[in-house]
Symmetry: C2
């Protein structure tokens, strides 16, 4: 027994999923063919959708059962309906006008319409304005002509597009009156609702295998002058009238809300993946014994090596800090959304800027951490059955989709340098950027004082942002804007990350200080926070020297402090990962089960290899004995 | 056209492989079943072995055609005969006595014996003395009884063991006269030579799917009191006589030679993988255009973004530096091997220490670099067809096998602290550790001077090693050795890495200074070296402040210097990757081909998806339409 408590799925929703008749019997998918895998995941995704429908779940419940903790169980190789649920439907809700919503939504909910969100093209992802699929309005026929000018403008990547969806929201360059009007969304039927055959003029298929998530069913899509009725442009914001006249959207930021939502959701899901990985590595590091026997005659548990503590424990602290801070951003989002509904969009740009850098920071930190945890399991971490490779494949994809991380950080940076330059209205109270317009917090740095660490993190953010804002300002006097911007690119990215880090630690500082929790819990949160802070400093020492007010001698002191804190955290490792409350079926790892019976499980799973079914696999005879070396 | 020269396989050996009738026609393996993949890779591995034999290749030629550059073409999913070739045969040659060699070698070379090297067990990898498979000698029958006490002592991981090998060199705990004698190698037949059926008492199979390299055919193996004749213990070093009396090996370091050989080979192969990844990312970063069009009306090539230069260019410099330094270690190895043959083993411990830290440093740097390069390709880097995921899966395995990196670094560290403590004989002239016993090089640090950077790297190594040696010394006064050692573990690892870095830069400094190359080449090497050094400092600023003599203001200066150097290197990027001389068939990437025709290639490879063969995949109907959402 490694864990102190056998986790039960205590909550209602989780157990509904795990015990659902169409979901509870899982199969190992690792030896399935690509098509079998797709079929298995699709049928489970379908069952999930039905369950959501039957239970009448609200948005919070849905995000819970769609979170990676649960979806890694329902659709272990990627959910081919995910984009339908998290992008297609929300886009319709937000960007279709009321007529359109009432026209389509019934068919969406009864499953006649299955959709995807088709934005990215082979040659354009990041630079959305560069998309080259055209939608040219013809007033005579009152239709748009959708067209793909060449292969490199093919839609490429949309999830579910491969073979699952029969509709797509297609982002295309609108032309009316011979004028380009920018990128707009169009609802396009791509396959027949009955036969599922591609409609005339449509070329569609699956893009091929990937590092992971192979049943997301990512697809490609080309149009050969496909006619789409005028009423299929999503018209809540911009409009094209029958005569071809064009009405601009009232405010450009209309779609920020959905983007913030998706990015915060990605951040939370990636922390889910880290929690699972941390639980696996923690439990394995207790079970695994390796090395010169100690006084008790037993080989040491590997977690008692100082190096192993450094590989594992900081990431457990990160789970706590990143989850709490991201959850708080989620609350801000809920608040801002209700303000926006009331017509006040003032907080939206900042929320958007924060979500961009947080998605980037969390996906980057978590994927690096998962990989470090995998490596900490030695050879056995390389096995699929450890689940660690799949967790990494999932987390690292989040660094690219919904905005490549560098590009997202540059969006945050653009907002920050404007704030630092004073060219924006001063931020509202409670804003995350007020620190830029106030004098630096001059709490002197002192190893061991969390408040001093938080202040130092703040100074780094402030120093980074103001320095690059000034450099940019200066360069703009002597060179074109694009060149000036490019000269500072690396520093801009670093500034946005530093801002994100400050957001994270400030939010967690508030969590720690909340009086509602018991003293024991507060002490534990404090310890986790101290570990997180000391580790953060040790990973960016140059920054803390340059901007954070640390002296050269603080470096050595902080390093020692971190190692001492890890030793202090070590006895709490199992309770801290048990507290994630993950039952074995959701962890799904030979190395990470509750009972620590690692080796038996590894043996058991090896028996599934198709090469082990015959004593002598046919392939051996064919390739080898017959041809004799 | 991206590349300036279409690479031809110019050398004789490479073209022999690429044009060999059984190798030249490659198939895409991504949709093959596990068994088909195995069959495909095994038959190509067999063809390769035949070719080596027919051509009568010497060891240098063999390591060339077995290098990752070539083997990624011959056995893209992992070579199931690799362990036979690189571990089983060399172990026989080095550890079997002359009688044994002549008894077995004929059958090995005619392909009757196919072997593996079975050391690791389910519960023991790193700590070899803890292996629990027993070999108990019985003088009456003159046999060893090989036995696996329980499942956790099963052999687990050996390559080719799954279903390929019929023999294994098994490392087991020897018992004679009731005494444990430590771990010794035994030649054991595990499958019938004719029928390939497992022999009585043997349980053997494949361990299951992994992060990558899935046709290495890693296996498990259990013994139920299997009798092995006395003559099957490999007896070049230790001996068991007929009566059970035991003769110790003459010197313990006998097997160091093979270990050094394998580790340097792994380092070189991992640089191969990095070279391929760097070529792919460099070419793609030229082809890919993304962003606001510039004055020429075109969107910028992504390589012109400063952030992209930082993602790509330092790793090209690393290819040059790491390859050259590792090749020089290879030369040292050849030299030391001939000394050892002449009876002089004085240089062996140091060579071993250097090989340990170099293998760790190179595999760690290269896997991180490959992953950064993959991410630099945005979404398309996530596709299998980019080849980047497979290159990573290959490189990161090297961080674990043949000595887990942390453990290897600790071996180097043990050697270094002994040297620093003066408890060893002073090192020979030309040794890599003389710097420890000399005063620190006090060349003042100056951004822009390579010599100053090299000196600073040396000071970091020296500072790290001497500091931890002193800490260890002090702790040993107050606590047991194991605890003292463990208290310093993190610092020991850091010291060994710093030593490795110093070895690398010192060796490359010599390469740069060689007068034999032309001035243009020398300037280019100098630029690459400068990039490598500035990047190395930027990744470990805290160390350079604490031990390297840098002042806080040097940090900012070095960061700027690095960005300037990258801009300087940018125009040479394509010639520098072209110089790796990798033809398209060896690169095997949709993103990295010579002609830059990325999008057409991506489209072409997508057509292979089995989901694209029917307009409506059967799976769709089954899972979805029929069950209606
Ligand atoms: C698993 C997965 C699922 C996906 N699902 C969908 C989907 O359902 N629907 C959909 O439409 N798309 C989807 N995508 C596509 C995804 O949104 C894009 O891959 C992503 O937006 C990144 O764009 P890109 O691939 O064009 O990267 P690129 O922009 O080409 O990035 C390549 C490099 O260029 C750099 N770069 C680019 N522009 C700049 C700049 N302005 N400044 C500095 N550096 C720059 C980047 O930092 C990066 O290093 C998916 C992708 C993946 C991997
Ligand atoms: C692809 C692949 C192919 C392989 N092929 C073969 C083969 O052909 N034949 C064969 O015999 N084996 C093979 N192996 C096994 C391989 O050699 C072992 O996995 C490797 O030696 C690491 O040992 P381990 O797995 O026991 O890791 P562990 O030692 O269990 O490592 C787990 C963690 O414990 C830490 N740790 C362990 N000991 C110490 C210590 N003393 N001090 C500090 N930290 C410590 C490590 O740093 C690591 O973080 C292969 C492995 C892989 C992944």
């Amino acid at each position: 027994m490694v864990s102190r408590n056998r986790s039960q799925v205590k909550d209602h929703l989780g157990s509904k999923v795990l015990n659902h008749p169409e979901l509870r019997n899982t199969k190992a998918t690792e030896y399935m063919s690509h098509e079998e895998k797709y079929r298995y995941n699709l049928s489970r995704a379908t069952a999930m959708l039905k369950l959501i429908d039957e239970e009448g779940m609200d948005v919070n419940e849905i995000s819970k059962v769609m979170s990676h903790t649960v979806s890694g169980f329902t659709t272990p190789d990627g959910n081919p309906l995910a984009v339908h649920q998290v992008m297609f439907v929300p886009t319709l809700m937000n960007q279709a006008d009321d007529d359109q919503v009432s026209r389509w939504l019934g068919d969406v909910f009864n499953g006649t319409i299955v959709g995807t969100y088709a934005q990215t093209e082979l040659s354009h992802g990041t630079f959305v304005r560069g998309l080259r699929t055209t939608a040219t309005y013809d007033p005579a026929s009152r239709t748009f002509d959708l067209h793909t000018p060449d292969v490199s403008a093919a839609k490429w990547w949309p999830g579910g597009l491969g073979t699952t969806a029969n509709h797509a929201v297609v982002m295309a360059q609108l032309y009316t009156d011979g004028q380009p009007r920018g990128i707009h969304p169009f609802m396009v039927a791509i396959r027949d609702r009955e036969t599922h055959r591609p409609l005339p003029g449509i070329t569609v298929g699956e893009i091929g295998p990937k590092l992971g998530q192979n049943t997301l069913n990512n697809g490609y899509l080309l149009f050969d002058h496909v006619k789409v009725p005028r009423e299929n442009m999503l018209m809540r914001n911009a409009r094209v009238n029958e005569d071809g006249s064009y009405t601009k959207p009232s405010h450009q930021k209309a779609s920020y809300g959905t983007m913030v939502f998706t990015r915060v959701a990605i951040a939370l899901d990636t922390v889910d993946a880290l929690q699972i990985a941390a639980t696996i590595a923690a439990r394995y590091s207790i079970v695994r014994r390796q090395g010169e026997p100690r006084d008790d005659g037993q080989e040491p548990q590997i977690i008692d090596y100082q190096t192993q503590q450094l590989k594992v424990l900081p990431h457990i602290a990160a789970c706590y800090v990143l989850r709490a801070s991201t959850a708080r951003l989620w609350e801000h989002h809920t608040h801002v959304t209700s303000e926006v509904r009331g017509g006040d969009t003032a907080l939206l740009p900042e929320l958007h800027a924060t979500a961009c850098c947080l998605k980037a920071l969390v996906t980057q930190d978590c994927s690096e951490a998962i990989e470090a945890l995998r490596l900490s399991c030695g050879g056995h971490g390389y096995m699929t059955a450890s689940r660690l490779p799949a967790l990494y494949a999932y987390a690292t994809a989040g660094a690219t989709y919904e905005g490549e991380n560098t590009v997202l950080l540059l969006q945050t940076a653009r907002y920050l340098v404007k704030q630092a330059g004073g060219s924006h209205a001063p931020p509202a109270a409670g804003s995350a950027v007020t620190y830029l317009s106030r004098p630096a917090d001059d709490t002197p740095f002192a190893v061991g004082s969390p408040a001093a660490y938080v202040a130092a993190v703040g100074r780094v953010a402030r120093g980074r942002v103001t320095e690059v804002a000034a450099a940019l300002q200066a360069d703009r006097q002597t060179m074109p804007e694009a060149d000036a911007w490019n000269q500072s690119l690396v520093q801009l990215v670093a500034a946005a990350l530093a801002h994100g880090r400050y957001f994270v630690v400030r939010e967690f500082a508030e969590v720690v200080s909340q009086q509602s929790s018991s003293r024991a819990i507060q002490q534990m949160l404090q310890l986790l926070f101290s570990v997180y802070l000391a580790h953060a400093v040790s990973r960016a020492e140059g920054d803390f020297i340059t901007y954070g007010g640390l002296t050269p001698s603080d470096i050595r002191l902080n390093r020692r402090h971190l190692l001492r804190l890890l030793a202090e955290l070590r006895p709490h490792m199992i309770p801290l990962t048990d507290a994630f409350d993950l039952p074995d079926r959701l962890i799904n790892s030979t190395l990470g089960a509750w009972d620590g019976d690692v080796y038996r499980r590894m043996f058991e799973q090896a028996s599934h290899s198709p090469l082990n079914t015959d004593e002598v696999p046919a392939s051996f005879h064919q390739a080898m004995l017959r041809s004799k070396l």
